[in-house]
């Protein structure tokens, strides 16, 4: 793009600046990895391949891996200096998502533990 002068430009998410063959390959590899991760999730959920109490953790790990695949191969988010803005925005989004979800689960778990439950009958 800029030859050898090492001038960094911002990059937009979703844009990959290569020739067509490389781009089609990127989408195809992404689709393949995504399908593998999905299939693995379904296998983990339906069999005892993983130690059952740990299966939930395994599912979360597979989901995070698949989200990573989507970000890199479909949204073309890279780790280069041109992507800094996009990655920083993503990091902030992930922080808020984590706070909202983990915070809610944490608070309500304590609420349930400290509240006398109604007798079930």
């Amino acid at each position: 793009m800029n030859g050898d002068d090492h001038l960094h430009e911002d990059r937009a998410p979703g844009i990959e600046e290569h020739e067509r063959a490389a781009n089609v390959l990127s989408y195809t590899v992404g689709l393949g990895l995504a399908i593998v991760a999905t299939a693995a999730s379904f296998i983990v959920a339906q069999t005892d391949l993983l130690w059952p109490p740990g299966a939930a953790v395994g599912l979360v790990v597979l989901a995070l891996a698949q989200i990573g695949v989507h970000l890199v191969f479909f949204l073309h988010l890279g780790s280069g200096p041109d992507d800094t803005n996009n990655i920083l925005a993503l990091a902030f989004g992930v922080l808020i998502v984590f706070l909202v979800i983990a915070g809610s689960i944490w608070i309500v778990a304590h609420l349930n533990a400290n509240t006398m439950s109604m007798p079930m009958n």
Binding site: D10, A12, R20, I35, A89
Partner: protein, 208 residues
Amino acid sequence: MTTVTAEADQRAHGRESHGGPAPTRIVVAYGFWIFILSDIVMFSALFAAYAVLSGNTAGGPTGAELFNLRSVFILTVCLLLSSYTCGLMMLSAGEGSLERFAVFAVLTFLLGAAFLVIELSEFADMVRKGAGPSRSAFLSAFFTLVGMHGAHVATGLLWLLFMTAQVAAKGLRPKVLRRLLCYSLFWHALDIVWIGVMTLVYLMGVQR
């Protein structure tokens, strides 16, 4: 042509002043990326509500009794394939190939529509079994979260119709290409939300 010279000007200018305004395409996509992240933050609230309420079935049916993993797998494959064809559609648009763009746009629309039809028939089936959104807190949270994702898919399908009409009417000019770029970001982001729904709601729901 004009855009290319403008970008080259900005580039040459930026070399002296360390930056300066980025090309419109970069600014537009970055702004839309911020919107997508805020949309995902909105989804995180619904995910949190579901995670907190998923055990409160009020004596009604549980996820393990209701969910059919075979159709969830089909839904996932539809969405993944439509993301793939959406990516190929963007490549064709970038090359200015109208025929290939049209083919991939139709494929993307059909796969997205298949997703929506299967999901709605699953919903109708649940309501018929007496497991509608008013049955329990678990089902309210379920229909809100999954329904919100479905509403986004429906919006994406409408948007794709508008974009195809724009390409037909105006051709693949830079402004239309920027809108297409935003559309593709939106469509790929729906996949990411669906991975969360698939894992947290369906796969973990069946385990309980």
